[in-house]
Structure formats: structure tokens, C-alpha cells
Amino acid sequence: MNAITIDNLNYGYQEGEPLFQDFQLTVPEGQWLSIVGHNGSGKSTLAKLVLGLLEAQSGDITVFGQELTPASLAAVRAQVGMVFQNPDNQFVGATVADDVAFGLENRQVPSAEMPALIEAALQQVGMADFADREPHTLSGGQKQRVALASVLALKPKVIILDEATAMLDPAGKSAVLATLQELKAKYQDQLTLIMITHDMDEAALADRIVVINDGELALDEKPAALFVQGAALKQLGLDQPFETQLQEALPKAPQQYLSKQELAAWLSTLKA
């Protein structure tokens, strides 16, 4: 079963300026996919098309076998949760707990069940102590974790994160990434993750990385196979991870991707 199938997608912001032309992408159920690409390459637009926030000029988007149409929009959105880059645009509640409750209310979850669901969702992002705070008193990073909790509470089958960690401090960022890894380990194939990011360390967590360049699917690889393609990445306006750059700058090195730990371990054998 595929979580998302995009077939012959055509879309442009302005007439005569197509962005996506007969674009194809298939995301199998349970995959952790990273989408990378330079600013304006169409990554966020693609996510908005999948959620039906933008309407394609032509082509089919299918989510778990259900084609995205005006009639199926609500059903599709019930399966796909999205966390945006700017959490301020997704806050509605007077308190943090209210904000998480909002989505549950929309799903008509019985109010007796809500407190436990809200607590569990906030716990997963390390924000349980902030349940009674007003969202505007939170920092950007804290808001983003609440936004993720609001999505988690609805138990979606797909979560799309659009540069959701770009604004977080190291602690907040690793808390969110660790949460995503825990969720993935817990739900396995029941949860499909799509992460839009510029951060190659973050992209490396995925099973697969797709590089989008001006509406075209430029590369489609596993992280280790992508990172060794320095020239191609550079041409697409992207960086290799630090460890790969270092490996290539050394007089001799293994001809394969090594993580930072692996590279340090290999270098330590040369020193012995």
C-alpha cells in the first residue's frame, strides 16, 4: 500500500510559469522520507498540494488509495497531519491544552477522553508542564513542540513536517527528532513521516531522500548514497554533510559514506 501517490501533477503559482510539470512521486506506507531542495524549489508547495491547501492544475494525488478531491478533502486531511515552519500560524487555543484539544474537538472525541490524550501528546514533546500556559508566552521552540503535540493527538497515518525544527534550539531540536524516532519505532509501518528540511544531519535520519529542484525530482536516493554525490548536490544548491566533506578533503579515505562516529573511529585506527 502506498501512503501517497502523486501522478502527473501540474501546478504553477502564476499562469505561464509552471512549477511542477508531470511530477511523479510515490511514498510507500511506513516510509520515512526527507524532501530537500533550495529555497523556492517547490518543497513546501508540494506539501500544501498533498493537503489540499493548494489545488493542482491537473494530475492525481492519492492518499491511502483515496484520490484527493473537494469531496474527499476532509477524509484525506484526517490521515495527514502537518507541522509548519511557523507555529504562530497554527495556534488557535487560549492555553496550550486548549490548543491540543481543538483538533480533538473537531474529531468529536468525547470530552472525558480528552485530558488523557492531551497529556500524553504533550508528554511526548516534553511540554506537559506547560499545559495551562497561554501560547503567546511560549518561545518559538516551545510553540513548535506544542504544534507537533496537536498533530500527534490526532494519531495521523502520515505526518508532514515542513522545516519544523529550523527554529528550534539544539535541545528542542533533538527532543523533536528523538520524539519522531520513538514514534517511528513504536508505530513502524503504521506511521509515514515526510520531513522537508535543509539540514542534512536531519535528512540522514530518513530511509530515503528526494531532492526537488525547481519542481523537478532531481535525485532519489538513500542518505548514504546521496551524500557521496558532492558535485551533484552542489549543483542543486545543497551541501554535503560535514563528515563527507572532511572525508574528501583527507589525503586518503574510504570510498563510502561514513557517519561522524565512523569517520572518527577510522581516523583513530591511523593514529594507533
Binding site: Y13, P28, G40, S44, S139, P170, F242, P251, S259
Partner: protein, 322 residues
């Protein structure tokens, strides 16, 4: 124009019981320099910079911007003069955009501070060129732009006002590598022009590459004020305690030091790390091709991937799922 912060305390509202956000901050932010302010979420960084241009007024102590002294008693009508001197680029650029077109948005600031429409337009175009936003976008609505493009418009809006000091809150977040490089160049050129540049950032690689002075905030207090090459000599534990990352080259060098390598200076780039490693290894003893034990899953993954690539080209769209 230097900014002096003297005994600054801050809490929201007049009430004594509201928690102290900033506690007795004393700091000089020099002109012609880049000052980075770092610290974990909630440490008071954003509150501190909002005191620099009187968006927030001190609860106690004072902020001296050029020849203007800002205290809790400063009158509302004195504030625009401060804000004209200190430009702010906030964390979420779309929050500071509002006009119908990109060009009008950038013209708003200069017009507001007394420039004619023609002068404002000229300043706006100059600023938009400086942030490398292509002319094709100038007549579009700023809300049709991507996040990275919006960031450029917000930057241009502040540049067009030509303030003496500029504050950037996480300016590189959400920018692609090329955009980040351009931004670093822009901040450096502002420094060369003698501007007072303040940068809030979590990205220590940028702090290392840019800053002349780093202010570390913790729990509303200043935990350290040092030059980057001094600060990053501190122990890994110190950075953990302050919830800060180390710059990538520095972190890697510290890892290697535990494995017997020695770094005679703090490495600031990939090339620097590579050069310092290279001279410590007898490369004639390293036989090629180099193989690495213990990295099996990686090589397995890589070879599987090339097999998948064949699949992908046959089955368009690609199914890399295992």
C-alpha cells in the same frame, strides 16, 4: 553607534510577582562588530534584543543607544527616534510583511521616516538588490513568496531604513546553503560599513564564522562574554550545561582529541580540520582502497540503493521501501 546595557532587569507587567526574565544584565555592544547572542530557548535572548530598540522598556536599569537613554520612565514619544536607529529582523519574517507588493513593503520604512516616494523607491530597490531578490518578484505580493524569499524581503525592509544598528533574530533559519552564505556575506559587509550588528543564533557554525563577540545567556543572566575562539575552547560539558551545540569542526576536533589527535589551534572549517589531521598521520602506511570495518550497514545501504536506482528508473516514481 555602540549600545550599552547597564543593570538591565526585565519582567512582564508592573507586578512584582511576575517572573524575572532578565536579571541585572551589563553589556557593551560595540559598533563595527558582530555580537552573537546565544542561549537555550527561554534564556532571555529575544527579550534582551527587544530592549535594544525599545520594543520593551526596562523594568530596572537602562539601555543606552547612541546618545539616547532608555529607562522604565522613557516617554512613548521618545521611542521612534530609538527605533529609527536600531533595525530589527524578527524570527518569523512573514509577521513583519504587510504591503500589497514586495516593493511597497520595502518602501514603507523609508517613507515612514520622512523620505519622498521617489527616494523610498530608490532605497528599496537598492536594498532588494543587496539581498539578491530577483526583480521579477518586486511587484508580487510578499505572501506569494517562499519562506526564504520572505526573509529577504524583511531584511531589505530594514536595510532600506539604513539604521545604525541592526538586530537579526535567527536570520539564517530556513535558508538553504546558498542563502546562508549570502546572508553571512551581507552581515560581514554591514560590519565593514561600521554598523552595530547583533545576531541571535543557535547555529554555532555561523557564530564561529561571523561573530567578534559571543554573549551566552542562561536563565536571564549573562553566563559568558567572549570571543568565539576563546569561548569554544571551553569543555564539552560546559556547552552541555548551557544547552548549546559546539560548531561542527570544533566538536569533531574534540572527538579526535579523545582519540589521541592534537589540534594546535581551534579549527574553524572542514579544510582546517583536514589539514590538521593530515599532518598527524603517516599516509604512506594507509593502503588503498581503504576499507572500513564496522561500517557494514552503511555500505550495504549504499549498494542496495544503487540497485534500487535501477528499479527506480524502470518504475518511475521509485519505490525504495524495504
Amino acid at each position: 553607534m555602540a549600545i550599552n546595557i547597564e543593570g538591565l532587569t526585565f519582567h512582564y507587567g508592573g507586578a512584582k510577582q511576575s517572573p524575572t526574565i532578565l536579571d541585572d544584565i551589563n553589556l557593551t555592544i560595540p559598533s563595527g562588530r558582530i555580537t552573537a547572542i546565544v542561549g537555550q530557548t527561554g534564556s532571555g535572548k529575544s527579550t534582551l534584543v527587544q530592549n535594544l530598540n525599545a520594543l520593551l522598556l526596562p523594568s530596572g536599569g537602562q539601555v543606552v543607544v547612541g546618545d539616547q537613554v532608555i529607562t522604565s520612565k522613557t516617554k512613548e514619544k521618545a521611542l521612534p527616534a530609538v527605533r529609527a536607529q536600531v533595525g530589527m529582523v524578527f524570527q518569523f519574517p512573514e509577521n513583519q510583511l504587510f504591503a500589497a507588493t514586495v516593493l511597497e513593503d520595502v518602501m514603507y520604512g523609508p517613507k515612514n521616516f520622512g523620505k519622498t516616494a521617489e527616494e523610498a523607491e530608490e532605497l528599496a530597490k537598492k536594498a532588494l538588490n543587496r539581498v539578491s531578490l530577483a526583480e521579477e518578484f518586486w511587484q508580487r505580493s510578499p505572501f506569494d513568496l517562499s519562506g526564504g524569499q520572505m526573509r529577504r524581503v524583511a531584511l531589505a525592509g530594514v536595510l532600506a531604513m539604513n539604521p545604525k544598528a541592526m538586530v537579526f533574530d535567527e536570520p539564517a533559519a530556513g535558508l538553504d546553503p546558498q542563502g546562508q552564505l549570502e546572508l553571512l556575506d551581507l552581515l560581514r559587509s554591514l560590519r565593514t560599513e561600521g554598523k552595530t550588528v547583533v545576531l541571535i543564533s543557535h547555529q554555532m557554525d555561523q557564530v564561529l564564522a561571523l561573530a567578534d563577540q559571543v554573549v551566552v545567556m542562561q536563565d536571564g543572566q549573562v553566563a559568558a562574554v567572549e570571543a568565539p575562539d576563546q569561548l569554544f575552547q571551553r569543555s564539552r560539558q560546559w556547552f552541555l550545561d548551557h544547552s548549546l551545540d559546539l560548531p561542527t569542526p570544533v566538536a569533531f576536533a574534540k572527538d579526535l582529541e579523545e582519540k589521541g589527535y592534537h589540534f594546535d589551534h581551534l579549527p574553524t572549517s572542514v579544510a582546517d580540520v583536514a589539514a590538521q589531521i593530515a599532518k598527524q598521520v603517516d599516509w604512506s602506511q594507509v593502503t588503498e582502497p581503504v576499507n572500513v570495518a564496522g561500517a557494514d550497514w552503511q555500505s550495504q545501504q549504499a549498494s542496495q540503493s544503487s540497485a534500487d536506482q535501477v528499479l527506480t528508473s524502470n518504475s518511475r516514481g521509485g519505490d525504495l521501501h524495504e
